[in-house]
């Protein structure tokens, strides 16, 4: 049984969320299960949907990404949070990771590289996540399974469909 990474998008720019959703769905490894426009909505949806992955922007109204990050991690249970932000990595990544982000990806990278970095961060997901992705998680068919095999085996590249 092939599973995809259930993904929650948290970003106040609706047009950008649309693009991200399109990019992730085209890749095939992801299934976008929800979208939120600020940190507060993100926490509520994380609690409701228990996504595998949360892509989290930093600068948002109502509640920003740094405020929401620890609570989204808790609310999503086993979810991995990857920050996707316009701020440079060397400026904000350390703070984001200190608050629990598994990775930090700058906006503006080519789609294939963005997806690659998100998947690379996802490889650090806790082992308990593997069980939630279906018993056929090690089936070599499909990019998620390839990523999971790469994470377990420590292999380098993993199959990606270019966006």
């Amino acid at each position: 049984m092939i599973s995809r990474i259930r993904t929650l998008l948290v970003d106040d720019a609706a047009p950008l969320r649309r693009l991200l959703s399109l990019m992730l769905e085209r890749n095939g490894a992801f299934a976008v299960v929800g979208e939120a426009g600020n940190g507060e909505e993100g926490i509520a949806l994380a609690d409701q949907l228990h996504p595998d992955l949360v892509l989290l922007d930093l600068s948002m109204p109502v509640m920003d990404g740094l405020e929401a990050l620890p609570r989204i991690k808790t609310a999503s249970g086993h979810g991995v949070v990857v920050v996707l932000s316009g701020f440079e990595t060397n400026r904000m990544a350390d703070q984001a990771k200190a608050l629990g982000a598994a990775g930090y990806v700058e906006k503006g990278l080519p789609p294939s590289e963005t997806v690659a970095r998100i998947l690379a961060a996802f490889q650090h997901a806790p082992a308990s996540l593997l069980g939630t992705l279906g018993s056929g998680g090690l089936d070599s068919a499909g990019p998620v399974q390839g990523a999971l095999k790469a994470r377990r085996g420590g292999a380098g590249a993993f199959p990606l469909n270019a966006a």
């Binding site: 693009l19 990019m23 963005t114």
Partner: protein, 188 residues
């Protein structure tokens, strides 16, 4: 009742405080921060008003013909204040750092606010435009570019200040250090 102790301690405090206040005010005047650094201005004002107050106490100590309640304790505490005032005065070499530090803090906050605004309105828009074009979503890409351009112009105008308040740019103000399109291989 006349108290040499009271006159001396309060006199010392008055002199020290007024000197400190004048140093702070002079620093603000020289760095043109009298209207832009309210914290430092208030600090100077506190020293000035307290200096005048203690000067009045010194006068009372010199001229009063009856003792105040708790007079001994009052003069003792004034001795402590005088000691600290003189110590503070010896730190006057660091007053410029106090003035600079406060202004720098305000500058930093302002710069951070502007940076976040630029990130929100320009960087995000350009990132969206880039992603859209790379994904073949041309219409969304063009729209995002347009929004970013409009936002950038607005932010620049705000940063340049109100033209009607003496901030108008004139001949020479727009001179660039390097060309906008340097020749290939040239280092900007």
């Amino acid at each position: 009742m006349f108290s040499l102790f009271g006159v001396t301690t309060n006199g010392l405090i008055a002199v020290a405080y007024v000197v400190i206040a004048s140093i702070v005010f002079r620093g603000l005047w020289k760095t043109k921060q009298l209207t832009s650094n309210p914290l430092a201005l208030a600090t100077g004002a506190i020293f000035f008003t307290c200096g005048i107050g203690h000067g009045m106490h010194a006068y009372v100590a010199a001229t009063s013909d009856h003792a105040m309640p708790f007079e001994t304790w009052i003069w003792a505490w004034d001795a402590v204040t005088a000691t600290i005032a003189i110590l503070y005065l010896t730190l006057r070499n660091r007053f410029p750092a106090l003035l600079r530090g406060t202004a720098m803090y305000e500058d930093l906050l302002q710069r951070q606010r502007e940076a976040v605004q630029i990130n929100d309105n320009i960087v995000q828009g350009l990132a969206e435009a880039k992603l859209a074009l790379e994904m073949g979503e041309e219409t969304q890409g063009r729209e995002a570019l347009e929004r970013s351009l409009v936002a950038a112009k607005g932010i620049i105008s705000n940063l340049m200040g109100d033209q009607n308040r003496g901030n108008a740019l004139g001949p020479g103000d727009l001179r660039r250090k390097t060309s906008a399109s340097p020749e290939k291989g040239a280092v900007p």
